[in-house]
Symmetry: C2
Subunit: 518 residues, 2 copies
């Protein structure tokens, strides 16, 4: 006997039920709408070390502080009890103020969709996946790399709608053919019309944020008070590490908190470049910066929902190039998850890679990122599908490879039954020594839904695979995204709502839109 | 601010130290000789469920038993207290006998190499990686798929010697150009001459086993008693699931145990085909079969070292094709690790994929397998490098992709420092808001060894990568295995030992070798 896949075929006394009966498909559901993670989070620090890192971050905020570029934010910090030095724009925050902010930040909350089936519980053991957000370029393996367009943006929304394993939306790709002062109007309208899922928008100034909120209110038929009473949309806030909060980001924290909407406060800290070269040092700095953001949000509105974001990786110390999905990235993820739990906030991480093409490196770096996030206990995985080239490109094929990986994680989260029937002693007795389980009753009752049926993976034997063209996973992914787009159906929308959205967009365009703040 | 890799380069006020000083390399060691896993193993079963599965396996052995094809093995079982039915060849083992066997099986042991630096502690928190074993075919992306040759076998040994992250050897690929009755002589001699690492051989009958043991004794200068007193070589034993132990495998357990050498007893159970369609059912059956093998070994020689092997995956219920690195595979791994710890034995798992080519599927299925094994607490990962096509091919490029992944795991296992110096408050104070850490003292002291430097991964930006040819990871792996072979140096060997090995091989060939038993 040997450990080879041909053992099944060699023995071949029975065919599997579906093949024998020429049945078309297995029927396991891909309705991965609500995921909870059953595994105990992995740790890289002792509890004492976590407490030390938290304490060190508090020391940074007390003694050094953050440079905050937006005057309104410095005014808010000062009013809330922080120490502000106007000439240097430095804001120092004592640990009492941090503790007070953490006491009012919710441990869990719900992001609400139009359809309650797509409401997203954030925090606890819940896991939410959102597609990549922000790359300026789009790639596919036939047309290559080019500037993102609105057509690509819409395609990526359609793909996001097509797979239940994506729960929130993301910025997908920058539609560079849409002028930047009206881009938010077009992209948010598209999110609301082409998908059922919770939008994620950018914080590019109060004007754009107000427009985005108004579009959501129109689409969902909410009053301003109703909108402000519950969370409907998130945005990513990146500090300008080390220790600086720039104008659009501070503005975003303020306007999202004021409206009761969650900021995902994420210091983007590449160890060795904009953060210390040690994992613990980079995490300490990131933690301090995230806490500074939490404090601002809670000063603006105690109880404002926040997601604690981490994005700590390392650079190549030869070239300065960023790297993602590295061993240091994995360890940083486990550590960031520990810090998030230490302060009791929902935690966001990412699925990232530095590969320039959707190849084996892209797959193994993404897997490293995903295992780091998910076995670290992550609640919100941004860039979960499509990220490539250190975030400078979205790849259609990578999007499909990622969907496959996300669906596999969704399956890993499902419980393993261990009832008497699951242990199958009767089936073992029925089949007997060196027999085959394809046809036994235990199998017949379960085979349709027993296993995950893959999307991209090809399990045919070498001969069959070769005859079918010998395509790589990336080449199959190319076919699959086109098939998914062809099979997309837009969700039904009330024509009056569409008309109202269109009218608002038209009016705001006529008014000049809202140029991004910088 | 955004989450994109160009943020480092855009800022660009400083270059990283190596780039600034034109220093050639970073210097982090790749001497991953002894790995220990710091993470608490992940679980899919409660402790009660584990106990239930163990009890159900005992019931199978008591009431149904194993069909054992080798008369000598049935005689040994009977002499040891099992109930043997000669007409049906069924051996029934009561739970007392299993408990007695488990009581004498060591929880940990050491596989000894010629050089103590390459001794391998097996069990506990130790992790050992061994390359793939057994595929009949070899692949590389230029020459395609073809029958394995002795030249390929030697190449794969040279590659195994070249990377410290491989600790044990494996069968690599079947050298089909060497007649099967003398193949073991050539392959084992090559292992002993081309590498410093612990051999792994096949159990293909007592004659071949005796030859292999003799070659090792000659190479290491050991008396027969010295050889039998310590573990030097392992072999894989696969039951013929369900519930059958065939002739060479029973013979292997007996001869390895008698010599005090470890068998890796591994039921190869594909759920839905040769095992029940449920994960728990497949694991219960596999556990029963492994226990039957442990009992035979301990009857032969109480205290004989054993590695509890698991290889439970699922088949595609549409086609019957085997699948590896699936969600069910991951959950089976976590469960098998729990069963191994329940009975206190070292645990072996695998790095497997069903992909027919070293592509993104091969990478993500292998990562799934590796995370399942390693976060399940695995001690011995076979097929850790090179496995492709459900074990029907070894791929040179996959070998290198796997080495990269194994090295990344070796790094993930390294502790994250959390001393005051690691937390880097002084560096943060030195650099200040929106500064750069490339040049600060904290970085300068650490950058050479701060991060893992990749083997296959390419972190250059898109322009540099394109200018350099735009190679995929698989194409780079193709260059890398050739470079590694070019850089290989054979370990020094005493000419008298080489002569003695050659003389033994020549004599045994002249005597007709040892045809495999079946």
């Amino acid at each position: 006997m040997s450990e080879r896949g041909d053992r099944v075929e060699r023995r071949g006394r029975r065919r599997p039920p579906a093949a024998a009966a020429a049945e078309p498909v297995v029927e396991r559901s891909r309705g991965y709408r609500h995921l909870t993670n059953p595994f105990a989070p992995l740790k890289v620090f002792s509890d004492d070390e976590v407490a030390s890192i938290h304490a060190a971050a508090l020391t940074i905020l007390e003694t050094q502080g953050m440079r905050v570029l937006l005057p309104e934010a410095r005014r808010r910090y000062a009013a809330g009890g922080a120490s502000v030095d106007e000439p240097s724009q430095m804001v120092r925050i004592d640990r009492g103020l941090v503790a007070q902010a953490l006491a009012t930040t919710p441990r869990e909350f719900t992001l609400h969709a139009r359809d309650p089936a797509w409401h997203l519980p954030i925090g606890g053991r819940n896991v939410v996946f959102a597609p990549t957000s922000g790359p300026p370029n789009i790639m596919d393996i036939k047309r290559g790399r080019r500037a993102g367009t609105f057509a690509d943006f819409e395609n990526l929304l359609r793909l996001s709608q097509s797979f239940d394993v994506l729960h929130s939306l993301g910025g997908c790709v920058e539609p560079q053919d849409v002028p930047i002062h009206v881009r938010h109007l077009e992209t948010t309208r598209a999110m609301l019309l082409l998908t059922d899922k919770v939008p994620l928008v950018y914080a590019r100034g109060a004007g754009q944020i107000a427009d985005n909120f108004e579009l959501i209110r129109i689409a969902y038929g909410l009053s301003e008070d109703e909108f402000r009473a519950r969370a409907y949309v998130s945005c990513v806030i990146n500090t300008n590490s080390p220790l600086q909060l720039d104008i659009p980001m501070a503005d975003g924290i303020i306007n999202f908190a004021a409206a009761g909407q969650p900021s995902i406060i994420t210091p983007f800290t590449l160890a060795g470049a904009m953060a210390p070269v040690t994992v613990a040092g980079a995490l300490t700095l990131a933690h301090a910066e995230a806490l500074a953001g939490v404090v601002l949000a809670q000063i603006v509105r105690p109880g404002a929902p926040i997601i604690y974001g981490s994005f700590t990786s390392n650079v190549d110390m030869k070239s300065g190039s960023p790297a993602f999905g590295t061993p240091e990235y994995v360890k940083s993820s486990f550590g960031a998850g520990q810090l998030a739990r230490h302060i009791g906030l929902p935690w966001r991480s990412s699925n990232a890679t530095a590969s320039n093409t959707p190849d084996a490196q892209a797959a193994y770096e993404s897997q490293m990122s995903l295992w780091g996030a998910l076995m670290g206990g992550c609640n919100f995985v941004l860039h979960a599908a499509g990220w490539l080239e250190s975030g400078l490109s979205t790849s259609y094929e990578k999007f499909m490879l990622d969907i496959e990986m996300l669906q596999m994680f969704a399956e890993i989260f499902q419980p393993v039954g261990a009832t008497t029937a699951d242990l199958a002693l009767d089936a073992v007795a029925e089949v007997g020594p060196s027999g085959h389980f394809f046809g036994c009753a235990h199998t017949m009752e379960r085979y349709r839904t027993a296993f995950y049926a893959p999307l991209v993976s090809d399990w045919r034997n070498y001969g069959q695979w070769t005859e079918a063209g010998g395509l790589t996973a990336t080449e199959r992914a190319h076919q699959l995204w086109q098939e998914a787009l062809a099979g997309y159906t837009a969700p039904a929308r009330d024509p009056a709502v569409v008309e109202a959205l269109d009218a608002f967009v038209a009016r705001r365009k006529a008014e000049g839109g809202a140029p991004p703040v910088s």
